[in-house]
Symmetry: C2
Subunit: 232 residues, 2 copies
């Protein structure tokens, strides 16, 4: 599997490029609108054709590039079935998005938001804001639910092999990857906590409202509103 991790410093968001070296088909997971030119240039240089732009959920902290990439490349856009309805394909638990010979398997992991999905491929889990390095996404907006997040992580991510590489949607300390085994042992919010203790912790976090939420959520529900927002 061809693979690149990309970072948007303004929002600390990771975007993932996954490709099939034989067919030259590629997918971008959680692309950021402000990075469209960078990502298209990389696709051109690597001689890859963008087949899919996938979001793990309706983001509150940045605007997705999915719609802009669809306009620019003709790729199809993908999200969970409870996510943005503007996408070409709404996926469910167990669905597979085929990137040439590379299979991206959809795992529903709601809890950070009601629509959150993770994508699995080749020993990697792209977990968005469900499971992060020593952390997890907050659960206090967009139909977030701490108990549901606990269940999603235990049932569908912690059940993966310990050496599964976990690529998160964000990291704020410069860490790029973790593993299922590490998170089971060291996740600062989950390790050693019962479901009840986790719910109490998450419901008491009292976090400030994301700065860009009022712009990002409506834009993302419209696949990034590429017609109205700058693409560069």
């Amino acid at each position: 599997m061809l693979f690149r991790q990309l970072f948007d410093a303004e929002t600390s968001t990771y975007t993932y490029l996954v490709g099939d070296p034989a067919s030259r088909q590629a997918a971008l997971i959680d692309p950021v609108l402000g990075q469209v030119e960078r990502d298209l240039e990389l696709l051109r240089e690597l001689d890859l054709q963008l087949a899919w732009a996938l979001d793990t959920h309706v983001h509150a902290d940045h605007v997705t590039a999915a719609g802009a990439l669809r306009e620019r490349t003709g790729c199809k856009t993908v999200a969970g079935e409870r996510g943005a309805s503007c996408v070409d394909v709404q996926v469910r638990h167990g669905d597979v998005v085929q990137v040439g010979a590379v299979a991206l398997r959809v795992v529903e992991t709601p809890g950070h938001t009601g629509d959150s999905v993770s994508y699995l491929a080749d020993g990697c889990a792209f977990t968005g804001d469900a499971l992060m390095v020593r952390a997890c996404g907050r659960t206090d907006f967009q139909n977030g639910d701490a108990g549901q997040l606990y269940d999603s992580i235990h049932a569908h991510l912690y059940s993966l092999p310990d050496d599964t590489r976990v690529y998160p949607g964000h990291d704020y300390k410069g860490r790029t990857v973790t593993t299922v085994g590490e998170e089971r042992r060291f996740n600062a919010r989950l390790a050693g906590r019962t479901r009840e203790q986790f719910v109490t912790l998450m419901n008491g976090l009292d976090l400030p409202r994301p700065r860009h939420m009022d712009v990002a959520v409506p834009a993302n529900l419209a696949c990034g509103k590429p017609q109205a927002l700058p693409q560069g």
Copy 2:
């Protein structure tokens, strides 16, 4: 080879953790002083013993954590023989730093600075500021020399297999890795330029002086002066 890429957002610096899964020996390449606690925590969690802290050169943009890591862990510090004389081991072209069963091979790649070295291991090149993603380090201070950098890159990095993964010392656009093949084709400063054209380009860049240079260079010549600077 056990491997982690780490990022310092303040200075856009990449640090690399390389380890041997069997012996649990590890090395940190280009560690950043402000990230010592993060990096020590990761080493503890991964059950790794830090054997080496290596610098690719005397940095002008951040303070090395080499001295602080030596104090905290008893690791040995490493630099090129034209680099900081405070290190435990000054290495030359062709030397090998053994991290358990993992061999880090030293390649002298001067030009960005007079002391720059790269480290090679397991199909990866840790190139510091010699070769970066579509870029290279500036050559206008610390005995930098554009012609020498051109020669270093062509003789010792572009001569590696095309699929060698190149891990740079910095990136300012969120790109985490490149390959020798890509840089040969797409490097914005080198591709399609003769040595003479490259020298003309580099000598005409007229870049501003690095903001922290007057602090960073003296500190780094003293391995980070851990006794005088905060370690957190």
